[in-house]
C-alpha cells in the first residue's frame, strides 16, 4: 500500500549487508593471519615437545610427537586400535542419542506439566548433585563389563545435561508465542513441533553440544573401571606398562571423536538456528 518509511529502509540495507556478510566466505588477511599464528603455536609446541623428550625429560614420561605418530600408524595397521575405537564409538553412538532424546523429551514434558515439575524438580536437582561418574561402578555391577555398562554411563551424563537445558528452555519460553499460535488455531503436535520446539531449540542445542564431551568422558570412565576393550581400556593398559606414546594415541583419538561430533552438531545447529541473528556467538570448539 505504501512504501516502508525512509528510516525503515536504512535499517533494511544494514539487514541486507548482514545477510551478505553471513553467506559470503570471508577470507581476509586477518583470518589468514589468525590461522597462521594458530598453526605456528601448535607447531612450536610439538617441536618443543620433540626436543624436550629424552633430553630434558625422560622419554617414557612424556613420549614424543614422532613416537606417538609411529604408534598411531602401527596401532591402526595391526587393527587393534580400530577395534578399540569402534567399541568406544559404539558405546557413545548408542548412549548419546538415547540420553539426548530422553532428556529433551522429559525436559519438554516437565516444562509442560506444572504438577510434574512441582513433584519431581527437587528430586532431579538432588540427583543432579551427585557426581554422576561416581555412579559408573554401579553400572558395571548392574550391566556387566561389556559395552552396555558404558552405554549406561554415557546415557546418564548425556541425559541430565539435555534434560536441564530443555527444561530451562521451557521455563524461559514466552507464553505469548503459545497464546498467539493457539489463537491462530494451531494445537496439538503442530503446536509442539512448529512453535514450542523451535522456540526452545537454542536451549536444546546448548544441551546437545555441552553433552558431547561428557558422553566421551562417560564412555572412558566406564572403560577405566572395568572393560576388555575400548579406548579407555587401551589407555589404561598402555599406561600400566609405561607405553606413554600409546596413551597419547588414545587421547588423540578421543579428541578427534569430540571434535568430529561437535562439528556435526555445529553444522546442524547452524542450519536449524539460521533464524538467529548471526553475531559471532560463543562456540565450545573453535
Amino acid at each position: 500500500m505504501s512504501k516502508p518509511a525512509s528510516q525503515d529502509s536504512t535499517v533494511v540495507t544494514s539487514g541486507e549487508e548482514a545477510v551478505r556478510n553471513r553467506t559470503a566466505p570471508i577470507v581476509s588477511a586477518r583470518t589468514l593471519g589468525v590461522v597462521a599464528i594458530r598453526i605456528g603455536v601448535i607447531g612450536g609446541f610439538l617441536l618443543l615437545w620433540q626436543i624436550a623428550s629424552g633430553r630434558w625429560i625422560e622419554a617414557f614420561l612424556i613420549s614424543s610427537p614422532s613416537r606417538i605418530f609411529t604408534s598411531l600408524i602401527a596401532g591402526f595397521q595391526s587393527g587393534d586400535l580400530l577395534q578399540h575405537s569402534w567399541v568406544t564409538f559404539l558405546e557413545i553412538a548408542i548412549g548419546f542419542p538415547l540420553g539426548a532424546v530422553v532428556g529433551i523429551g522429559l525436559g519438554y514434558w516437565f516444562g509442560r506439566s506444572r504438577i510434574l515439575a512441582e513433584i519431581f524438580e527437587p528430586i532431579i536437582i538432588a540427583l543432579n548433585g551427585i557426581p554422576r561418574t561416581a555412579l559408573a561402578p554401579l553400572f558395571i555391577v548392574w550391566l556387566g563389563i561389556g559395552i552396555w555398562s558404558k552405554v549406561g554411563v554415557v546415557y546418564l551424563l548425556t541425559f541430565f545435561l539435555n534434560f536441564f537445558n530443555t527444561y530451562t528452555g521451557m521455563r524461559q519460553m514466552d507464553q505469548e508465542y503459545i497464546d498467539l499460535a493457539r489463537l491462530m488455531g494451531v494445537k496439538g503436535w503442530r503446536l509442539t513441533f512448529r512453535v514450542i520446539f523451535p522456540a526452545i531449540s537454542p536451549y536444546m542445542f546448548t544441551g546437545i553440544r555441552t553433552s558431547i564431551p561428557f558422553s566421551v568422558i562417560g564412555a572412558i570412565v566406564g572403560e577405566f573401571i572395568a572393560a576388555t576393550e575400548g579406548i579407555g581400556f587401551f589407555i589404561r593398559l598402555s599406561a600400566g606398562i609405561f607405553r606413554t606414546a600409546d596413551v597419547f594415541v588414545g587421547i588423540i583419538i578421543l579428541m578427534c571423536m569430540v571434535i568430529i561430533m561437535d562439528q556435526i552438531a555445529g553444522i546442524i545447529e547452524k542450519r536449524v538456528l539460521r533464524w538467529q541473528t548471526q553475531t559471532e556467538h560463543v562456540r565450545i570448539q573453535a
Partner: protein
C-alpha cells in the same frame, strides 16, 4: 423481537431506502397506529438511521458483548487484585473501537478475556452470540511487541494462521502475497524477524493477524514502542487496510490523539479497579487523513472531551 423484525419489513416496504436494520420498539409501535403517523415517524427514523450508521458504520449485529465482567487476580505480594469491575460493553460488527486508560487499568486483561486466554471471575462475554468459553479462535491478536515467530520468515509468519485453516495452497499464497504487498513488505518475504526494523516487524505482526481473516482483531498497544513518524504511517496504513474489510477492531492505546484519530468510539477506563468511565462517540467522517487529523472537523471537540475526562482520571491515578 418479533415485533422489531416485523417493523423492519414494513419499513422496507414503505420506504425502500431502508435496509433490513431492525428499529427500536418505540418506532414500530408508532408504525402500527396510523398512516400519517407513519410518515412522521419515518422522517424521524431516517434521522435515527443515518445517525446510527455514522455512529458505528456497522453491520447488523453485535460482534462482541461484554456483560458485567469482573476479573480478580491473586498475587503473592499484594493479595487479590481487582483488574476489572463490572465492565459492560457492546461492540457492533465492523466497529473500530479504541480503549484508553491509565496503565494498570485492566485494558490488556479485557482483551485477554475476549480472546478467551483467561476466564472472567464473574460476568459473561459473548462473541457473535456465542459465549466465550476457552480459546476464542475467531479473533486475531496483535500483541504489544511484534512477537513474530523469530524462527519463521516474514512469509511463513504471515501465513502461520492460514496453514491450519481451510485454505488451499494457492489461496494461501495469494493471501500471503496480497497482505505482504499491502503492508509494503514486498521483497522481504524471506527475511527473518531479527533482520527487520521495528516498523517493519510491526507491519508484519499486524498482517499476520489480518491474513487469516478473523472476525475481530484485538490490538494491545501495537504502536506503543514506535517513534512518532513510523507510528503515523502505520496508523494510516491500518485505517486503509481496515476500510477495505471492516473487521471489528478493539485497539488499546495510551495515546489520546491516536485513540480519537482511529476510532468510531473511544472507551475510557478508570484506574484500578478498571471500570468503564465513559464512552465517547467520534463524529469525524471517514476516510480520515491521519497526517492532518487536527484539521479534521470534530477532532478538537472530541479530543477536548476526552482530555477532560482523562485529566480527572490522572489525578486519581497520581494520588
Amino acid at each position: 423481537m418479533l415485533l422489531e423484525f416485523g417493523s423492519g419489513c414494513q419499513l422496507q416496504f414503505a420506504a425502500g431506502v431502508f435496509m433490513t436494520r431492525p428499529f427500536d420498539l418505540g418506532c414500530s409501535i408508532g408504525l402500527n397506529r396510523s398512516r400519517i403517523k407513519i410518515a412522521a415517524k419515518l422522517k424521524d427514523m431516517a434521522q435515527t438511521a443515518t445517525f446510527a450508521t455514522s455512529k458505528n458504520r456497522s453491520g447488523d449485529r453485535l460482534d462482541i458483548r461484554v456483560e458485567t465482567v469482573t476479573k480478580l487476580f491473586r498475587t503473592p505480594s499484594e493479595g487479590t487484585i481487582c483488574a476489572l469491575e463490572g465492565v459492560s460493553l457492546d461492540i457492533p460488527n465492523g466497529e473500530f473501537i479504541t480503549v484508553v486508560g491509565p496503565s494498570g487499568c485492566g485494558k490488556s486483561t479485557l482483551l485477554k478475556l475476549i480472546a478467551g486466554l483467561s476466564a472472567p471471575s464473574s460476568g459473561r462475554i459473548f462473541f457473535q452470540d456465542e459465549e466465550v468459553r476457552g480459546l476464542n479462535t475467531k479473533v486475531g491478536y496483535v500483541p504489544q511487541e511484534s512477537k513474530l515467530f523469530p524462527w519463521l520468515t516474514v512469509e511463513a509468519n504471515v501465513g502461520f494462521g492460514l496453514s491450519s485453516r481451510r485454505y488451499s495452497r494457492e489461496a494461501r499464497e495469494r493471501q500471503i502475497s496480497h497482505f505482504i504487498n499491502l503492508a509494503g513488505l514486498a521483497g522481504f518475504e524471506k527475511y527473518y524477524p531479527a533482520q527487520l526494523s521495528g516498523g517493519m516487524s510491526k507491519r508484519a505482526s499486524i498482517i499476520r493477524a489480518l491474513a487469516y481473516e478473523p472476525a475481530a482483531i484485538l490490538m494491545d498497544e501495537p504502536f506503543g514502542p514506535l517513534d512518532a513518524q513510523t507510528r503515523m504511517v502505520l496508523q494510516d496504513e491500518l485505517l486503509k487496510i481496515w476500510e477495505q474489510k471492516r473487521q471489528t477492531i478493539i485497539f488499546i492505546t495510551h495515546d489520546l490523539v491516536e485513540a480519537v484519530a482511529l476510532a468510531d468510539r473511544v472507551v475510557v477506563m478508570t484506574h484500578r479497579p478498571g471500570k468503564i468511565r465513559d464512552i465517547l462517540q467520534v463524529t469525524m467522517t471517514r476516510p480520515r487523513n491521519i497526517f492532518e487529523i487536527h484539521r479534521q472537523e470534530g477532532f478538537d471537540e472530541t479530543y477536548a472531551k476526552l482530555w477532560n475526562i482523562f485529566r480527572h482520571e490522572l489525578k486519581i491515578g497520581a494520588r
